[in-house]
């Protein structure tokens, strides 16, 4: 007890203590909702919960001292932006109890979360928002050590800087290879935005170089827009090798920076390997991930299909057509918060309606987008027909410029909503 009191600030501590003392958690005046993960999903959810019901005791568990945002991290790789612009502190969370620890286990029956210092905290409802884990067991040769040579840069931070520095050090005339995974994965247009911005860097700084995308898919998000822009802006620079042409990488050798496909092998000067992914580890140990590695959820409440009173939002969740994006994570988190706030007060949650909009930069001042509107249907989050879609294939440069500006302002708005 004393060690936990020391850990947990103010209101959260007394609630945790009260929860311990009284097993009848449902009858509490200040029900305790615990959120694991302070990313776009978890931080949004904790904030929305407190906004919806000031009398909820909301605790956010996150081990990092700062959040490094992935959206726009591709611009960092291309030298267009500093990593500082991606960094957000956790000091503006008001009366949300912030615990700087990692959650290591969940006892779904007793409704307790165990932290990495051995203490635990009780909940009436738990929201898991751990994002993704990169799978270091899925691609032969690609483990954590290999990622130090062939960076994934699919979590922003040191990996982003590693890939940026490799690009900066590469001599002109080098070959950059980016390998993209099969669906589903974090940020479907992300690899192609990355290819675009790396191509922009190569074109302006190392024009004799080449970029090859080895893809485990035959189609990708906003494909026609990307390909048209590549022909226009980067002719001959980017080569996309789809699955059907032998694009799927089956093995890598970090020592020689070689990527092996079903059709042959490619030697790279720089290899950016984006491996397959799954829900963050805590989701597996809580028993909310299924055999695919992702967490099936109810589309109205985001409650796990596998464990009661545990909700999953953001990249870790899977439940229909919504892509794994920061925009989706934030929208899902707010819908989940509304449902959780209703459920803890024994009210019926309302049917949510969600939006996703993902911008991609193809070059500075050249933005494109894909949007969708989603609602529950047949137990999944389904796209509302007749809505959504991509930017037009033909558009004047003023429209691309406007979308690039909107992309930046979207990032500013959402990060200020999520991190304060």
């Amino acid at each position: 007890m004393p060690s936990r009191r020391a850990l947990i600030g103010g209101a959260a501590a007394s609630v945790a203590a009260a929860v311990l003392a009284a097993p009848q958690v449902r009858a509490q005046a200040q029900p305790s909702v615990v959120v694991v993960g302070g990313g776009f999903a978890g931080a949004s959810c904790a904030r929305a919960l407190k906004q919806l019901d000031r009398d909820l005791a909301v605790t956010l568990i996150e081990p990092e001292t700062a959040y490094l945002a992935c959206p726009f991290s591709n611009a960092v790789l291309a030298g267009l932006r500093g990593i500082d612009a991606q960094t957000f502190g956790y000091d503006r969370f008001g009366d949300i109890g912030f615990i700087r620890k990692r959650a290591v286990a969940v006892d779904a029956e007793r409704r307790r979360v165990r932290l990495d210092d051995g203490t635990d905290i009780g909940y009436v409802r738990l929201v898991l928002a751990p994002g993704v884990d990169l799978r270091f067991d899925a691609l032969p040769g690609y483990d954590e050590a290999a990622a130090e040579i062939m960076p994934h840069a699919w979590k922003a931070g040191p990996q982003t800087l590693l890939l940026r520095d490799q690009l900066a050090a590469m001599p002109d005339g080098g070959v950059v290879i980016l390998s993209a995974p099969a669906n589903p994965f974090r940020c479907p247009p992300g690899p192609y935005e990355r290819a675009s911005l790396i191509a922009h860097y190569l074109k302006t700084s190392k024009p004799r170089s080449k970029l090859i995308i080895l893809d485990a898919k035959d189609a990708f998000s906003k494909q026609r827009l990307f390909e048209a822009a590549w022909r226009e802006l980067y002719p001959g620079l980017i080569e996309w090798v789809p699955l059907s042409s032998g694009g799927r990488v089956t093995e890598v050798d970090p020592a020689t920076r070689t990527l092996v496909t079903e059709f042959g092998s490619h030697k790279a000067d720089i290899a950016n390997v984006i491996p397959p992914q799954r829900a963050g580890r805590i989701a597996q140990s809580a028993g909310v991930a299924d055999q695919t590695g992702w967490c099936p959820i109810d589309p109205v409440t985001f409650e796990s299909r596998l464990q009661p009173a545990i909700h999953v939002v953001g990249d870790a969740a899977i439940g229909g057509a919504m892509p794994k994006s920061a925009f989706s994570a934030n929208a899902q988190a707010k819908a989940c918060a509304a449902a959780v706030a209703a459920l803890v007060r024994e009210r019926q949650p309302a049917q949510p309606k969600l939006i996703n909009t993902c911008y991609s930069l193809i070059a500075p001042g050249y933005g494109i987008s894909i949007a969708g509107v989603y609602q529950p249907r047949d137990g999944l989050l389904a796209e509302v027909e007749g809505a959504g879609g991509t930017s037009p294939l033909e558009a004047p440069s003023s429209v691309r410029e406007l979308e690039a500006a909107y992309a930046e302002d979207w990032f500013r708005t959402i990060t200020s909503e999520v991190f304060g």
Partner: protein, 113 residues
């Protein structure tokens, strides 16, 4: 599973019975988010005016104004980069509920009923 099943075929025109059911469901749910399903998603892009974003803030607009703009986006009458694609996902009734919620002063939007 839900009333939304019925929405599917006619949803493009927003003219099935489903919107009425959605509105009824929403009315029975007491939280603000329940009062306007979908409203929470808007603020991902549309922040407070003080941010000075190129994406306009929705603060301080009359409900009728928001409804009219959404209609103009939906019909294509008002040019857009992305709002036309988003507006087509909302029925007239849903738009009205969202607009009315957005038109409330900040404090009222977050207050418990």
């Amino acid at each position: 599973m839900t009333s939304h099943d019925m929405m599917r075929p006619k949803n493009r025109r927003g003219r099935s019975f489903a919107p009425v059911l959605v509105a009824a469901l929403a009315a029975s749910a007491p939280t603000w988010a329940g009062a306007a399903p979908g409203a929470a998603a808007c603020t991902g892009c549309h922040g407070p005016a003080a941010l000075g974003s190129a994406i306009p803030s929705l603060d301080g607009h009359a409900a009728d104004d928001i409804v009219a703009q959404m209609q103009a986006f939906r019909s294509g009458e008002r040019e857009a980069t992305v709002m036309d694609r988003i507006a087509r996902g909302y029925t007239e009734e849903e738009t009205r509920a969202i607009a009315e919620w957005l038109a409330k002063p900040e404090a009222a939007r977050h207050a418990q009923p």
